[in-house]
């Protein structure tokens, strides 16, 4: 990508226009500076050029001392041609037009031209380039090559070999970007196939991206197959909420229903990639089991109710409930939802029993992450502890891999199980499950030894010396709170960070887990004292808490201790379940309130690097579903007269005024690229 470069500028001429570009810049990129376009298939700005498709041919000449231009006899591929002093490029000559026509005619010889039934038809680079630069007819009258159609490479990706123009983008993606190298060209020649080894399942965690970068319809999505044509779609920008990375995506909807998710470019976050979980994991939004009505328990069953009835009942139980009421918040609630939830508990219910953490232990607050996803690219190294980044934080994983691939960053990995990151890690160390604290203690000891000039032997010593050489940030995830000795592990990690002089980043896992931390959706925030998740559930189980509010969370799925959840939900007197799906917990509910899914209402999310990203409603919610913040606002108004909140923007503006960390966050900036939260704020008085 066009990152800042310190290469000296050189003078080149494109179509008679003189310009300065950094030396070595590829001509295909230089041409974009003039707003011109060169047709391409195989070239992708984020991958190394290969010059396979020959579509980007340009005429090249060199300036002679007398001022004339001597052209090279043959055209050159602009994607592999670096800029050098005095280069003269022609992209618009008779000869080039003829060459492009020839290349396209060749590419189309074996292309089946089944555009009417191809999912790519209408947004296909091959179609576009043929229309703009290609011949209107073909001289090829012989039989076309026939190959397998609609072969399922995996449950996400369908391969149509006939349509493949053999540009190698997918192969290079798995080799250069995702790093699993699962696709390769087999039987190179006329029968070339970009497939997996022995046609095994394409299990890459980033396989969906190959669908997007395929310049024809050879790799298509199995989920989107035949569901819409591009001109049927309405597209809106969105944020993925399947994990805490906050990838920028496009929501494509047809008739108000989400049919597809594509990556949206944000250089600071996901570049243009998405992981398969985000791209294909949203089918639940169209689930027939979506909660769409307000339901109130009457005897053994539920009966439909209206919002006013439900509100009255809830207020009766919760108002001024103090320590007898509690709430648990889910990871997919937006900043606005969480902020009003906390205010409702503080002001209307007078309770601090509010938590969003679903780990088995709730410890004291940790300092917020201070790394940036983009910044990882320039690190000399990083230390990944106890996390499977490719599953838990896929975009951070891609950036770390890019740092290794491009700059040779030395990544250290310490996990209890083999991990995808081992493939590129400089040092990867295994410790036994349950031995985290001991492992870290010996690592800290080794660091101390090495800082004093000594060194022992073994992989631990290698790890310590690499850490001392690279001094990259320590990356762990909040799943470490599920460990038995979580407190000790954290203390040792802090010690290691101090010794190394680097930052310790405990990454949130839920889409807005970091936002919940920043907004104080935890019992000890803002000098309050209340119960954490485990204590809340225990208190519910033995009757100390009479009313529980589950806001967008199903503790059966989220909380590790299932039996405790069951006892809690069975014994609590009154249970409000605010949910998008008819979850297991909803069966225990006294009131079920349908909420909108992310994307069905405006909202902003805070991702793992503390970037607030806002997006607007893209999909129609089911009948009665309301955004969670609206419910909280309406309840607060009913409890005591006050100005209601009308929109998510307004609430974000209020957050920016009220919460120090969010100072200066504006909706428009949060929507266009996102805003990094500023200074660290004191989270709680009692930091142990």
């Amino acid at each position: 990508m066009a990152r800042k470069t310190d290469a000296p500028p050189v003078n080149i001429t494109i179509n008679g226009i003189d310009l300065q570009v950094p030396k070595g810049e590829l001509i295909v990129e230089s041409v974009k500076r003039l707003g011109l376009e060169i047709p391409i298939f195989c070239y992708h700005p984020r991958m190394k050029p290969v010059g396979m498709c020959r579509m980007c041919l340009v005429e090249v000449g060199m300036k002679q001392p007398d001022g004339s231009v001597r052209k090279m006899p043959k055209p050159q591929a602009a994607c592999t041609l670096p800029a050098s002093e005095g280069l003269v490029i022609f992209t618009d000559t008779e000869q080039i037009h003829k060459d492009r026509k020839g290349v396209l005619e060749f590419l189309l010889i074996n292309h089946p031209l089944d555009c009417p039934i191809c999912d790519r038809g209408g947004e296909c680079p091959l179609q576009n380039n043929t229309l703009f630069y290609g011949p209107s007819t073909s001289r090829f009258v012989e039989m076309k090559r026939h190959a397998v159609k609609a072969y399922p490479l995996s449950k996400h990706v369908t391969l149509d070999l006939e349509r493949c123009i053999q540009c190698g983008r997918c192969v290079r993606f798995t080799e250069e970007i995702s790093g699993d190298a699962q696709l390769a060209f087999r039987h190179r020649g006329a029968e070339m196939q970009p497939v997996t080894f022995e046609l095994e399942e394409f299990t890459s965690k980033f396989s969906g991206n190959t669908i997007e970068i395929c310049p024809v319809g050879a790799l298509t999505s199995s989920h989107y197959r035949f569901r819409a044509r591009p001109w049927d779609l309405e597209t809106a920008p969105g944020i993925c909420t399947m994990c805490s990375n906050g990838c920028n995506v496009w929501f494509d909807r047809r008739k108000g229903k989400l049919v597809r998710i594509n990556g949206r470019t944000n250089e600071a976050v996901n570049e243009e990639w998405t992981c398969d979980k985000g791209k294909f994991g949203t089918d639940w939004m169209n689930n027939p089991r979506r909660a769409s009505d307000v339901k109130v328990r009457r005897g053994d069953g539920f009966s439909r109710a209206d919002w006013a009835e439900a509100y009255a009942e809830i207020l009766e139980r919760f108002r001024e409930g103090g320590h007898e009421v509690a709430g648990l918040a889910g990871p997919m609630l937006s900043n606005e939802d969480l902020y009003l939830l906390r205010r409702m508990f503080d002001e209307t219910f007078g309770s601090s029993n509010l938590d969003h953490r679903m780990t088995s232990v709730q410890g004291p607050a940790v300092e917020p992450p201070s790394f940036t996803i983009e910044g990882l690219e320039d690190e000399k190294g990083a230390f990944v502890f106890g996390a499977s980044l490719s599953d838990e934080s896929p975009i951070v994983y891609l950036r770390l891999r890019k740092a290794w691939y491009r700059q040779g960053a030395r990544i250290c990995v310490a996990t209890s199980r083999p991990d995808d990151a081992d493939a590129f890690a400089a040092v990867s160390v295994r410790y036994p499950q349950g031995g985290e604290a001991e492992f870290l203690r010996s690592l800290v000891a080794e660091l101390r030894v090495q800082l004093e000039g000594g060194r022992s032997f073994g992989e631990l010593a290698d790890l310590a010396s690499t850490l001392l050489e690279t001094r990259g940030p320590i990356l762990a995830t909040e799943s470490l709170w599920n460990l038995d000795q979580a407190g000790e592990v954290l203390a040792q990690l802090r010690l290691a960070a101090e010794l190394l002089g680097v930052s310790l980043n405990v990454m949130a896992l839920g889409a807005n887990g970091q936002g919940a931390e920043e907004l104080g959706v935890r019992p000890d925030a803002f000098d309050r004292t209340g119960l954490g998740t485990r204590q809340i559930l225990e208190a519910c189980a033995d009757g100390r808490i009479r009313a529980l509010w589950l806001a967008g969370v199903d503790p059966f799925e989220a909380f590790p201790d299932r039996s405790l959840v069951q006892r809690a939900l069975e014994n609590v007197e009154y249970l409000v379940v605010q949910t998008a799906l008819e979850t297991e917990a909803a069966a225990y509910a006294s009131v079920v309130l349908p909420i909108t899914a992310p994307g069905e209402s405006d909202g902003s999310f805070t991702n793992v690097e503390r970037r607030v990203q806002a997006f607007e409603k893209a999909v129609d919610p089911p009948a009665e579903a309301k955004p969670a913040w609206r419910v909280f606002s309406e309840l607060m108004v009913r409890a005591e007269p006050r100005t209601p909140h009308f929109s998510a923007r307004e609430i974000l503006a209020e957050i920016a005024r009220e919460v120090p960390a969010f100072q200066g966050v504006e909706w428009s900036a949060a929507r266009d690229g996102g805003v990094l939260l500023g200074a660290r704020r004191p989270l709680s008085r009692a930091r142990s």
């Binding site: 197959r225 044509r229 049927d232």
Partner: protein
């Protein structure tokens, strides 16, 4: 006075009857609709039909190009995949739902123009009136009816048409 009456009243009347009288010899142009119908021009475009191949398979492949071309946005197509057990059209894809809103349609014929398989055709059936708005949404089953004279009409692909 009498001359004035003859000139201003009687003469025009007689002249008028004269025209009527001369017209009596001309052939009659009105038709007794609905008992009689006038022959339509060869390129008249009215009701849509979805055609089939001789094998009985549907020509429509559910590609939505008609919907894309439609200036009135009155066509809705939902595609699905053929299986060997349930085969509707020759290729991979067929139209699971195909609906045209006849109230919106302006009978421009762009859908017929856009169709890559010649599945949708506009024929001369113009008696489309009905009582309910809902009944103007023509479903795939309605559109797949055979139109009068379809059996005798050879299919000409758009690529074979004489220009």
């Amino acid at each position: 006075m009498a001359i004035d009456v003859i000139r201003d009243v009687a003469k025009p009347i007689l002249a008028g009857f004269g025209i009527t009288g001369r017209r009596l010899k001309h052939p009659k142009v009105t038709v007794q609709y609905p008992e009689q119908t006038r022959e339509q021009y060869p390129r008249t475009r009215w009701r849509h039909f979805l055609t089939r191949y001789e094998s009985g398979l549907e020509r429509c492949i559910g590609c939505s190009l008609c919907a894309g071309a439609c200036p009135a946005r009155c066509i809705y197509v939902e595609a699905a995949e053929n299986t060997d057990q349930e085969r509707y059209s020759p290729g991979e894809r067929y139209a699971k739902r195909y609906e045209i809103n006849m109230i919106r349609c302006i009978f421009c014929g762009y859908c017929q123009e856009a169709c890559p398989t010649g599945a949708i055709v506009l024929r001369k059936n113009f008696e489309l009136a009905d009582y309910k708005r809902e009944s103007f949404v023509y479903t795939k089953e309605m559109l797949l009816e055979e139109y009068p004279g379809q059996a005798d009409e050879p299919y000409v692909s758009i690529y074979q048409r004489q220009s």
